[in-house]
């Protein structure tokens, strides 16, 4: 009955996601920590599913992290946003897809604020003309890159080499989903499934054979908190929020976590390492952690990409136990090699968190 209730909520929050022809903008954090995820997104949408996803080198940060760290005024971030939209228009696109959740929130907030205060929109258009000499334009659709993968999830399932099931038992894997706060907490109608029961990642997991597990702190923030992570003296805030989530999900024994925000997988991965090293506590089996994956990484694994092409070697929590469960082959000798097989040595091993 609860599930039926959620279905009803999900059907109330179905946003329109165009099928094709997108202008793509990258994420500062995803490029820094998960660059292979963005490469996988473009490979899947363009080459495997034949969609038109355009990128220009002239786009920049949206300024969202600086804005949410209160270092730049709202007018600044809005003018940077207007510049990104103008580049989209200049290249003949009207569908805008972004890799970052902080950006997604900033884009939606900007468009909604312009709608309420047209005089502000006029001011920003004037700023844009004076600073960049670009024509002001607004997208018809703004979606997050996870929305597009959600839209294409059945096409991905049709081409899948692996399902999210235990290769030995045939049981669906148990998956925890973590949605970035700025995806739909501010504007629930702009996210697939709304803010309380977002469906964007759940839809992917269900289409690819896994099973979502619910847990009490499912909607709790990962703890990034912008200034609360960047300043070392504040970092306890970030750690304690991640800790709260892991304590809450532990009894449900998830096989892995899927995320749509670029920051969350970094925090949920690295704070597991810190908890293990400082408290001796690990949340996976036999001293391992729980692998935390981006949705692009999950889609890539399902489609049969090599795990090391997806950058899974740059996670601190080892992914091998998950790959073994899925029956996905990997060459452990190649894990830390550079391009062309170049020897880059290996990272040191943590003392508590089991990494091999």
């Amino acid at each position: 009955m609860i599930y039926e209730g959620k279905r009803k909520i999900w059907s109330d929050y179905q946003k329109e996601i165009p099928d094709d022809h997108y202008f793509y903008v990258r994420s500062c954090i995803r490029q820094s920590f998960f660059p292979a995820s963005e490469a996988a997104f473009l490979n899947i949408t363009r080459n495997i599913l034949g969609r038109d996803v355009f990128e220009t080198e002239h786009h920049t940060t949206c300024g969202g992290i600086a804005y949410h760290s209160d270092t730049i005024p709202q007018e600044t971030v809005m003018t940077i946003v207007a510049r990104q939209f103008a580049l989209m228009h200049k290249h003949g696109y009207e569908n805008y897809v972004c890799s970052c959740i902080t950006s997604f929130g900033v884009y939606i907030e900007t468009l909604e604020t312009w709608r309420t205060f047209p005089e502000l929109e006029a001011k920003i258009a004037d700023n844009l003309r004076k600073t960049c000499n670009l024509e002001f334009a607004k997208p018809r659709f703004v979606v997050h890159a996870s929305d597009l993968i959600y839209k294409l999830r059945e096409e991905i399932a049709a081409k899948a080499k692996y399902k999210l099931v235990n290769a030995k038992t045939g049981e669906p894997l148990k998956v925890v989903e973590h949605i970035g706060c700025h995806y739909s907490k501010m504007f629930p109608s702009k996210g697939v499934g709304g803010a309380e029961y977002p469906y964007v990642l759940t839809g992917m997991i269900e289409a690819w054979g896994g099973e979502i597990v619910d847990y009490p702190e499912r909607r709790h923030c990962c703890g990034f908190g912008f200034r609360q992570y960047f300043i070392k003296g504040n970092r306890g805030y970030s750690l304690s929020n991640t800790h709260k989530k892991f304590e809450s999900m532990e009894p449900y024994e998830p096989d892995f976590i899927i995320t749509n925000c670029p920051g969350c997988p970094y925090f949920l991965d690295r704070w597991q390492y810190v908890i293990a090293e400082s408290e001796g506590k690990t949340y996976g089996k036999d001293g391992h952690g729980i692998p935390v994956l981006t949705y692009e990484e999950v889609a890539g694994l399902v489609l049969g990409f090599d795990p090391w092409d997806l950058g899974l070697q740059t996670h601190q929590v080892a992914v091998e136990p998950l790959l073994d469960k899925l029956g996905i082959p990997y060459d452990k000798e190649k894990k830390f090699l550079g391009a062309g097989g170049k020897d880059l040595g290996r990272p040191a091993l943590p003392s508590c968190l089991k990494c091999m």
Binding site: Q31, A39, A66, R83, T116, G225, R270, Y273, Q313, T314
Partner: protein, 232 residues
């Protein structure tokens, strides 16, 4: 109606984030900051709603407004469609504009945040740039980042990125003409002015404390008084 309240009402985020608070405390119940810090977003919204300038001034000069993580969890749940997180953003901006931020331990961290984040935006076109994210300052990034930092070009090449390269791709070099546009945007929209006033206030504070800039930055980065924490 107070003068500070009038100034706050100039901020679009306050106009969007404050309707009528009924003091229900739902925001505080869901707030991740309220669990960690001695922080109560309900009270902040109530103070602003009271329009009492002396209480607002206390907020602007104190640590409390800097505890929020801007996650916006409160926005979803508020039964009156308020946005305590948006109210906080407006308070923080005013605190910076009036130079009050420098008076509190948490507020003056803006000096470092402004230097690092605005520096990254203007120098590279990114808020976060991997060459400025060092393992020494981020030991929590783990030995895997220590390894990656040592082999950054090789790892980025292996992962199909375009670190500092021409043309599109992950972590490409943003062309100079685009960086120049970002700088002009900063100049015309008040970001440069904000950076300069934060820098000036920080410089004066460092002098007052008898610290060099480097010592001041270290203090800002590491200092954390237990009095901020819940349950202390």
């Amino acid at each position: 109606m107070g003068k500070l309240y009038d100034m706050l009402m100039q901020d679009y985020r306050l106009r969007e984030g404050l309707n009528a608070c009924i003091n229900c405390g739902t925001c505080t119940a869901v707030c991740p900051a309220a669990e960690f810090y001695r922080y109560d977003p309900r009270r902040i919204v109530d103070v602003v709603q009271s329009q009492d300038d002396s209480k607002i001034e206390e907020l602007l000069k104190g640590d409390v407004i800097w505890y929020c993580g801007e996650c916006m969890s409160c926005v979803t749940r508020c039964p009156r469609k308020n946005g305590p997180g948006l109210v906080i953003m407006a308070l923080r901006s005013l605190s910076i504009d009036l130079g009050y931020f420098i008076e509190s331990e948490k507020g003056r961290q803006q000096y470092l945040l402004s230097k690092d984040l605005c520096g990254n935006v203007l120098n590279y076109g990114y808020c976060v740039y991997p060459r400025e994210f060092d393992y020494k300052s981020h030991p929590e990034a783990g030995p895997v980042w220590e390894w990656e930092e040592k082999h950054l070009e090789d790892v980025f090449e292996r992962l199909g990125a375009n670190l500092d390269g021409d043309g599109p791709g992950a972590m490409r070099k943003i062309p100079d003409e685009d960086l120049a546009q970002l700088k002009r945007i900063f100049d015309i929209t008040g970001a440069t002015k904000r950076m300069e006033s934060v820098r000036e206030a920080g410089r004066k504070k460092a002098e007052e404390l008898g610290l060099t800039e480097e010592e001041f930055c270290t203090l800002l980065y590491e200092q954390s008084s237990p009095r901020h924490l819940n349950g202390q």
